[in-house]
Symmetry: D2
Subunit: 261 residues, 4 copies
């Protein structure tokens, strides 16, 4: 296996990361996630039981940690302090597990990231020994700052969380991909299979999604579609697509160099 996704010193063969929320029950959660082929699952520590409530069903039973790499996240946090506190709790609950997803949100309507608080929290968490994967805007300058702080992966939104609008600004993603050395993983906004393929064709290292699978009419079937779409997009990227031309007989390729070409 040569084409691996390397995050920090962990290696993964799947480039599809999935959320665990919004499913009917843990059974559906598990079925869909197994169908997706995902190895990394992200969990909202504030919303899902991973041991906080000892007497209730735990996600850890449906998705055992020996089978999946957990990525506790800070969904629902609106300040650096909240986010840091939440991830420290997660580390405790998960016996020192240090790979986390930081997200600090800007408001409850758009769920757009609050970048100043995100930068602050990232700095604290990195110093505190966490391996931080970080949800962020598609601002290439601040994405670079997050890499410089020491985050192990940068995860710009494609469009708003839960919107399913797809990749609204591929050009900003391109700037980020061109400049960063750590993996760039599109997080949020993917709505259907082609969105995931497009992200991978741009050169993203992976895609994280939740609603697109959980809120499809048939989540398990969609999970399988997403698995194939991410692989298709990755392979198309590696295969090197044909140049775009206005028409076949055109002497040059006026659109070469564009996104996706």
């Amino acid at each position: 296996m040569t084409d691996v996704l390397k995050i920090g010193d962990r290696e993964f063969s799947s480039r599809l990361l999935v959320g665990t929320g919004k499913y009917k029950d843990f059974t559906e959660t598990r079925e869909a996630i197994v169908a997706s082929g995902a190895q990394i699952v992200t969990v909202a520590v504030r919303r899902v039981n991973i041991g906080q409530n000892a007497n209730e069903p735990s996600l850890l039973d449906a998705l055992p940690m020996k089978e999946f790499t957990y990525l506790p996240n800070t969904a629902g946090c609106y300040s650096a302090d909240d986010a840091v506190r939440t991830l420290r709790l997660a580390r405790e609950l998960l016996d020192g597990h240090d790979l986390v997803k930081l997200e600090v949100l800007g408001d409850q309507t758009s769920l757009f990231p609050n970048m100043p608080e995100t930068l602050k929290a990232a700095a604290t968490l990195v110093k505190d020994g966490f391996k931080v994967m970080v949800y962020c805007s598609d601002d290439p300058i601040q994405a670079k700052m997050l890499e410089d702080i020491g985050c192990v992966a940068v995860m710009p939104l494609a469009s708003l969380i839960g919107s399913g609008m797809g990749i609204l600004n591929p050009w900003n993603l391109q700037l980020i991909i061109d400049q960063l050395k750590v993996p760039v993983i599109v997080d949020a906004g993917v709505g259907t299979a082609s969105d995931a393929a497009i992200a991978m064709e741009l050169g993203c290292d992976g895609v994280l999604m939740n609603t697109a699978i959980a809120k499809a009419q048939n989540p398990v079937l969609m999970a399988g579609a997403m698995k194939k779409a991410v692989e298709a997009g990755r392979e198309a990227y590696l295969a090197g697509r044909m140049p775009k031309k206005f028409y076949s007989a055109s002497p040059s390729s006026p659109t070469t160099g564009l996104i996706g070409s």
Copy 2:
């Protein structure tokens, strides 16, 4: 196997149809086509040897007819007469094989279809007992005329042949898909994996491509990507995607009903 592509009375599990031209040699042709999982291969009767030249290597050796369903096509024909003549020759060469792809081109620069000649040739060929799959513009009225004539599949272009520009007008494709009963197969214009996925998510029954695979830097790898992309798009279509919303918290889904939603 419940999700089959039915063309006339033939059934196929693969929804990816591929061309056989533009490869380095028949070995690469075969490797790429096997990787694509395609069951139907189209061949330009005027350009490729399928027995016309008895002493030269024949495509039939690389891709035996017991392994693949042949779809002789009329690439290079600019009139109904030429196209009809060419397909009659093909039928003779292939021992009465009646499944064909009609294309009558409008000019040598754009390779856009000549629709009046296409309609004329389609009528002649159907009367002559051919099962006609027909390359056409994305005009929903003329697509319906081709169905009414008795064509077994209608194949609108996504963009110009060999351009790799992707799906330029999904709305016209949608009108065609909504109105026709025979399979609608996007033919021409696909450039990369996500293009194929988008076509399938729109509700197309299949995708036909050649240059996107043959002119990728790594045709065999791209062929596999296309196989996955077509399956991903089909499964996403069947799974029923999440609704698009401007933001997750929006009470309704203002973009429901749009293409791809």
Copy 3:
């Protein structure tokens, strides 16, 4: 005045052509059309009174023929015969006026043109001495056929009549503009000012619209906006826009040659 729109041997300074239907009353019709600066007004002979009903208010009173160039059209016709009959009636009603707009529709839902019937009617009308401006699909081959038949202007749709969806396939329009010598006027689909500007920036010779003005919340204000938008788009086309670049410091202009660049 050097930048004139020449249709047949008539010359116009305005490149905005407008419909006369869908207004509250003839007063609003007149106010909006005056605000638009249009010199050519198109009228649905089957729906609007231009003398057929001698005792009812006539559009000719609100918009006198000495002030505007009339363009009787065949809205509502679904066959060549119907269209030809309708325009012969119009010529009679308008004292031999020979400048007409041919449209033959494919079905009542999409109002997409029926191209075979359009081609047939165009041939008959041209032979019969009409100056034919013709509504058509964005098929570059059939657009050329209409020019070859002798039409004085070719009017491809941008999107479906009354849809306001804007220009769905600028590439096909570009092919038409590049190949035709007669004026190319976008007809149908413009929804707001920028749509009209985009059409003109592509190199169209004019824009025809009705619903976008008549069904704006404030038709008279929108009419003025459209006047400016068409002029802005035309002037931008003539001025020669800056090249597109991914970023300013990029050594070359990878997007030069694209639509609108």
Copy 4:
């Protein structure tokens, strides 16, 4: 004049703001700017002589301050300190003129804003009595922070400075427009007339551009086109466009609520 652009306590009838750089000479600068109808002109204090070099031609001669409102900017500044210093110098050179445009850039390749430094500089300048118009990313959360700091106008990029790529993410602009009370002025990225119209149709309060005019093949003609395009877009916005529908006969308007609808 009821439809005015109000910035702080200043009022303007023109919603087109223009830069003064990249022209052949001050004569061309003046001709183009007069043709644009702009009342506000922005000047790069680090590059253009507005009195720093007493013996050289000054922009103030070509564009007198009694005729135009000056907007000194910090083009070329990569830190808050640099930007603050530059604007204090400008205030001195322009006799206490306090309306300024802050821009702190992130790197020399993309010229994308450095938002942390921009926020810092904005806070300092507002406290120091400046009326700050601020170039920024299209991040709605940080745009709101800039308003909360006391900036008098927020100016998100449409695409990278000097790129002419147009509006890459209208959705983020929409979020900003919906949330802010101060004027939102698109700054950077406009390439041709329709781009400006689209920005105004979204509900932006104004558009600032430089390269699109200065680097058109005919800058003066393009300046006039931009004037009309901004007015057309503004009037279309005020007039209330028709709803978008897939086709005219569709019972509802599935695309209502979308950008530009």
